[in-house]
């Protein structure tokens, strides 16, 4: 998928993460801050990159502000932000396909 405009998903509540995606031409640029950075920073980074990879996003500036979200929440927020950026979040989501 191609990030066409900036989009946000998620909140700054505890156990959630706020994910912002913006168009970019320089591959994937990740900016991550987390309340559990020392212990889970690497895992969060891996989940974000894997999720973008599954969605075939090649170029994207992605900002994650994590408040202790579980991996399943981080995935959900990244996916939603990407689909929103393409105006495709409302229907015909490939559940079990690129979203899994």
């Amino acid at each position: 998928m191609t990030i066409e405009k900036s989009a946000v998903a998620g909140t700054l509540e505890s156990s959630d993460a706020m994910v912002t995606v913006e168009p970019s031409k320089n591959g994937i640029e990740l900016e991550l801050s987390s309340s559990v950075m020392n212990q889970y920073g690497r895992q969060i980074k891996a989940v974000v990159l894997e999720t973008l990879d599954r969605l075939e996003v090649k170029n994207c500036k992605v900002t994650v502000v994590d408040k202790g979200a579980l991996d399943c929440t981080i995935k959900a927020r990244v996916e939603c932000a990407v689909f929103r950026s393409c105006d495709k979040a409302d229907k015909n989501i490939p559940w079990g396909g690129a979203v899994r």
Binding site: G10, C72, K75, A76, R84, D90, N92, W95, R100
Partner: protein, 304 residues
Amino acid sequence: MIPRPRPQRFRLRRTMMFMNAQKPGLIKDAYIYGCDSIMLDLEDAVAENQKDSARFSLYHALKTIDYGDTEVIVRINGLDTPHWQEDIRVCVAGGADGIRIAKCESAQDVKTVEAAVLEAEKEFGVEIGRTLLMAALESPKGILNAYEICSASDRMFGVAISGGDFRRCMQTKFQPDGVDMLAARGHMLVAARAAGIQCFDTVFTDLDNDEGFMAELMQNKAMGFDGKSLINPKQIRPVHELFAPTEKEVIWAKKVVAAYREQSAAGVGVFTVDGKMIDIAFIPGAERTLKLAKACGMDDGGLV
């Protein structure tokens, strides 16, 4: 991925607790409080501009979180909204045990949802017929059509009344004695029993009014409801305690079931227990008592 067992159409459903499907902190382990079913909500709890986000959150929760024996139902948006089709797709793809149809008014509503569920089961390779349905009756029309709704599909396991919307339609307010909804509750119960499905009462929203909650529960039990929708974990225990059978009922049920097994093995159809005449018609009731007893942590004598 957590594989969930095939949902049972008829099981114990004393408590169904609503949870906003969009709140990760809530849905990650709602099962720890011991409710029979959790109701992940895509409808009223989720803001209009977050419906999409809630579905992503729901999908991964369903796929990742081990809810164990707790049944997982999803309340989808009404058929008059642009959301319900995608709601059904995500429920089926994620493997929810059942779908609660909001604002259901006719058998046709159930059939419409059923068709979409069937299509989604085919699309996602889910066993045909796996996904159960229940309907929420929220309007006078829904109540009047209760029987056709209850009997509209083999997937239907139950029907629930939704007090907020119903009272608005009826131009009434909550009454402590339940007179505002007495006719509707009664009618729905009769319809559900006639169709052979379960029947659930509405939520009680005043969390500080313990007495009022207990009064409503006692009325629910007296009227014959199977269970109740809840909005807070603290409401679970009172329901389970009140809906638990008495020790006397359990002893009686044990005797009936044991005697029935013994007698039917010997080819006898009608017999007496403690001087009362018993036949096969008593057995489902006695077995239900024992199941309830087991779920409540009482001794079931190994007969369930």
